[in-house]
């Protein structure tokens, strides 16, 4: 019995949230059950993800391959739990659990009554399951389907709030994201036309043999993927939809969108670039330099635009644009240190940005204010919320002993290893700009006199969620050990270094 469960573990991790999400809508009348089911399935997912990651770590990166329906690889669809998959699965499970905990009994203001909140949870679990699927899938067309489901559930989450602003943001997001999906599907079609395979491993092998005959097709497919996923992941010049969408969404939705959904697309892009085209082709087509350049642009532009924003959630949303730049830059470095560092940075940013958005949501719903200068004296009235917000800000800036530092340190080492001093400089400037746009909020909150209003920390589940995330930010910074090891294995797998 345990053996059966063990072999089906990868598919269970993906299917469980999807299955539960469809059970929820008829249960809307018993909203308590809905909430406990959501938190329960997320908790189970976290346990399984930890178990899978432990297994991968123990076997030093030997992947667990699961063929759907028992059909072997070139014909059937594979779920490939390698070190990259286990790593991202762990990140997804670790961040979705506190976010769903935060949403418990807390949606009535932003989303509405039990029926609407249940619909919100349906979309939320759908997104969580799809992100887990993105971590494990090894099939090009599967990626397209997952990306589409993720897009629709993201847009649904953005439009969950009543009113025209949310609908406008969701519509713009939907149109641009569908344009991106079209490009991704075109890229998949081109790869299928020259390789005859949809399995990424087999497509990679076939492409290795034939790419010299079709250099233009390879170029076109690469750029289709880069632009398509770039739109969805809000890579700098293509980020226009992100600030509206992420700042108008309800708090838990902004947290999962900024923290995880954006990264899911980046993981898919990386899987395709490194898994199908492989490192030497990326080298031939100079994609490493393009990625580094786009990353640097995104860091500078995102940080400067974030500085210009007065609304707290918009500032955080633009900060996500900058952080996506770090992640893309790291993949462009193409050495173990850079790629491992960027993977770790991806994980730490997922935790930090969810924390910041949840804390910001708690601040906004307690005070009813949205501008960064309005939070004078909040630090004393809402000690837990503001404390966790400060911890996460320190982490995002990259102060030692907080999780952002480890990732940024490895990114710096990686860029020095390839001799790219400009990239190293931009990473440093990005950190300084990040301090400039986050620290004034903390200063206002602690060192300015508080008004007489009665502001309070949010309820118990929300506090628990915030404290869990805060501990994770510090924990990853003090003891990066196992996660960093997993990231290094994943980097070695991506770069095909034994």
């Amino acid at each position: 019995m345990t053996a059966v469960i063990k072999t089906h573990l990868p598919v269970f991790v993906v299917a469980a949230p999807l299955f539960v999400s469809f059970l929820l809508s008829p249960m809307a009348r018993r909203f308590g059950w809905v909430q406990s089911l959501v938190v329960g399935v997320q908790g189970l997912g976290l346990l399984l993800a930890v178990y899978l990651a432990g297994m991968i770590l123990k076997s030093s990166g030997v992947p667990i391959i699961y063929s759907m329906g028992g059909w072997p690889a070139p014909w059937g669809i594979e779920l490939w739990t390698g070190s990259l998959g286990a790593f991202f699965l762990l990140v997804v499970a670790g961040v979705t659990l506190p976010i769903s905990l935060y949403a418990v009994n807390n949606l009535s203001d932003e989303v509405g009554d039990a029926t609407r909140s249940t619909r919100f949870f349906v979309l939320y679990l759908l997104l969580a399951g799809v992100l887990a699927g993105m971590a494990l899938t090894n099939d090009l067309f599967n990626i397209f389907v997952l990306v589409e489901v993720a897009t629709i559930s993201c847009c649904g989450l953005v439009s969950a709030r009543r009113g025209p602003n949310a609908a406008k943001a969701a519509f713009n997001y939907l149109i641009l994201a569908t344009l991106g999906s079209g490009l991704i599907l075109g890229g998949i079609g081109l790869v299928y036309m020259i390789t005859g395979n949809l399995n990424m491993g087999f497509a990679g092998i076939a492409l290795n043999g034939v790419w010299q005959d079709y250099p233009h097709v390879v170029w076109m497919a690469m750029s289709f993927f880069l632009v398509g996923f770039g739109v969805k992941a809000a890579l700098f010049p293509l980020h226009v939809w992100l600030p509206d969408a992420h700042s108008t969404a309800p708090t838990p939705a902004s947290a999962i969108l900024s923290g995880l959904a954006v990264k899911g697309y980046i993981i898919c892009l990386v899987k395709i670039l490194f898994g199908v085209f492989e490192v030497h082709l990326l080298d031939v087509f100079r994609l490493d330099q393009i990625l580094v350049l786009l990353g640097m642009l995104a860091i500078l532009a995102g940080s400067i635009l974030a500085l210009a924003q007065g609304e707290l959630k918009r500032r955080l949303a633009f900060s996500t644009v900058a952080q996506v730049g770090y992640i893309v830059l790291g993949f462009g470095l193409m050495n173990i240190k850079g790629v491992a560092g960027t993977l770790f940075y991806l994980a730490s940013h997922a935790v930090i940005k969810s924390t910041l958005f949840l804390a910001a949501g708690a601040l906004i719903s307690a005070t009813g204010k949205t501008h960064v200068k309005d939070f004078a004296g909040v630090g004393r009235k809402m000690p837990i919320t503001m404390g966790v917000f400060s911890i996460a800000s320190l982490g995002l800036v990259g102060i030692p002993l907080f999780s952002g530092f480890v990732g940024k340190w490895y990114l710096l080492l990686g860029s020095l290893e390839v001799g790219n001093l400009t990239a190293a400089g931009v990473i440093g400037i990005g950190s300084v700009l990040c301090a400039i746009y986050l620290f004034p909020i903390i200063r206002t909150a602690y060192f300015e006199p508080a008004p007489e209003d009665d502001w309070q920390d949010p309820g118990v589940p929300q506090r628990l969620a915030l404290v869990m995330l805060g501990i994770a930010v510090i924990g990853l910074g003090v003891l990066p050990g196992p996660l960093l090891q997993l990231a290094q294995k994943a980097a070695a797998d991506l770069l095909i270094i034994p």
């Binding site: 847009c155 939907l174 569908t178 344009l179 079209g182 599907l185 075109g186």
Partner: protein
């Protein structure tokens, strides 16, 4: 030149796909009417479906269903057609969702034009 023209003529479905794709994405990016944007998205997706189907088809190919008598005749590759069924389902659901959003926006603004919507919104902000 003659060879190039011949290639284009033989691969005319791809040529059509490229033209449709350009029309679709230009419509999405330049039109401010939300319905026109949505139509543009649908044209663009049709272009990609056409490209996929063309990749799977072959001249004089038959339906890939096995009969005893004509099993030796060439048949088309069924995989791209099957994939595009999924693609069409996805595109229909995106369209439905976008239409629902347009209805919600129209109820509030009384227009389906993105420019007029932002005018109205800015006007509200000034008051």
């Amino acid at each position: 030149m003659k060879i190039l023209l011949g290639k284009v003529l033989i691969n005319y479905p791809y040529f059509a796909a490229v033209i449709l794709f350009a029309i679709g994405s230009a419509t999405v990016l330049t039109r401010s009417n939300l319905f026109k944007k949505l139509i543009g998205i649908n044209i663009m997706e049709s272009a990609i479906f056409l490209m996929f189907i063309a990749a799977g088809s072959r001249r004089d190919g038959v339906v890939p269903i096995l009969h005893m008598d004509d099993s030796l005749r060439p048949y088309i590759n069924p995989l791209p057609s099957a994939l595009m069924l999924t693609g069409i389902v996805v595109s229909v659901s995106v369209t439905a969702f976008a239409l629902a959003l347009i209805v919600r926006l129209y109820r509030f603004y009384g227009t389906t034009d993105a420019k007029r919507m932002s005018d109205i919104r800015n006007g509200v902000a000034k008051e």
